[in-house]
Symmetry: C2
Subunit: 225 residues, 2 copies
DNA sequence: CAATAATAATAGTATTACTATCAATAATCA
DNA sequence: TGATTATTGATAGTAATACTATTATTATTG
């Protein structure tokens, strides 16, 4: 499982920060508090000034870690994709049957994170809320090509391709594995948001996880010859 | 087809503007130029100052039409959904078989607009590019609940439900018609963006319209018992 | 103990997202 | 036609944002 924390993934994140926030106390406070604050007020209203106040520091100090709030969002999302791939490897370990592997992968990508992960300074439950609402803003910009060249989206692409490969194990002739998986990932985010804010756009019912069930069925029916 | 231009739809847009831009020359220039400008520089870099310069007017005059650039984006997207529903009615007219109806609807929702529409002051091809890149920013905000209550997203919801009903004609037991259709609409936007900027997230090939084909197959396989 | 690195404190700039005021012009209606 | 009213333009101004720069203070390490 060490290959997940390999140099490539690490490199991805490097281009999102000026100084690695995980290496200092202030840096870790920046991460923790930014996750809280973005959750509270939303990324659009989030500013480095407000963040500085909440950690009792100053703007200038935050800029030593991140060039801009956009870069911070990139950091958080790429961290999340790394983390998701890590969980994926765990979920797939020792599971041989491609059908089971895919089923587990789709479940991972579409269900809500409920358990916190101890030993992490990052609150993954809160972070996953941020990813649902804000992650598309990380790439829906005019800088996307430049940032893509810098390797920032490698983690996300890798995750999609990883699950896409399982699809191909089941049906090697299926022409659109990545399209299917990225549709599932982004779709599940959208549907969670819709369930909470625009319920007429979805069919999620409180209590049960229709989103998970829907995408499971959608994937398996779609890839079956 | 008049019901599409009914009071409800009109009301939706009312809450997005201060003064109806379609009723004056300046208003129309605002619409035309904002579409050009957002296409050129992206919504994030787009400001009313830049827009004012491009139409040789001043910021204050634009504020007489739209409260903020966010409201202008809401106007453009709701206009687009109205327009899409109008095209949908046309596409479905005199087509009886539910399968054909759904096929045509999905094609409309996932294919690229290629023909301009004469008689419109709004460039729908450019507008559809904006919708692909920027429309999710219209609802991924902290104001979404308030704006939803004001009826701003009625057009989008109506469109989703309209196509969802066709799904139910084909399979009345299908539990997730709206989830499926909103997945298709948002998915098709994402995939077009990915094809251009993050191609490893998709499987679109230059030339052919894999996106359209993929979602057609996905929909019909998913709803089949 | 000295050197170095990290942070805090303060200040400052350009841009953004507005609001307010008033003059100039165009449309309309009596 | 002339008076009224609505619309736009010109100008100014404010608070907030997104930074950059400088210098003092504190903590770390060699």
């Amino acid at each position: 499982m060490n290959n997940i924390l390999s140099k490539v993934v690490f490199d991805v994140k490097e281009s999102t920060y000026v100084k690695d926030p995980q290496t200092s106390e202030l840096g870790n406070r920046i991460l923790e508090s930014s996750i809280d604050l973005i959750n509270e007020i939303g990324f659009d209203s989030f500013t480095f000034r407000k963040l500085a106040q909440s950690i009792k520091s100053v703007e200038a100090s935050i800029y030593r870690y991140f060039e801009s709030k956009h870069k911070l969002l990139l950091y958080l999302t790429t961290w999340y994709w790394s983390f998701t791939e890590y969980r994926l490897e765990f979920t797939l370990a020792n599971v041989e049957a491609p059908d089971d592997r895919l089923k587990r992968a789709i479940h991972l990508l579409t269900s809500e994170i409920e358990e916190g992960f101890s030993g992490l300074n990052i609150d993954v439950i809160k972070l996953s809320s941020i990813v649902i609402i804000e992650s598309s803003k990380a790439y829906l910009t005019k800088d996307v090509d430049q940032e893509n060249e810098a390797g920032i989206f490698l983690g996300y692409k890798h995750l999609v391709e990883r699950v896409g490969e399982i699809v191909l194990e089941i049906n090697p002739e299926f022409k659109y594995p990545n399209m299917l998986i990225s549709t599932v990932i982004e779709g599940a985010h959208n549907q969670r948001f819709f369930a909470e804010h625009l319920p007429r756009l979805t069919n999620q019912v409180k209590g049960e996880d229709a989103i998970c069930e829907f995408y499971q069925k959608m994937v398996f029916k779609t890839i079956t010859k």
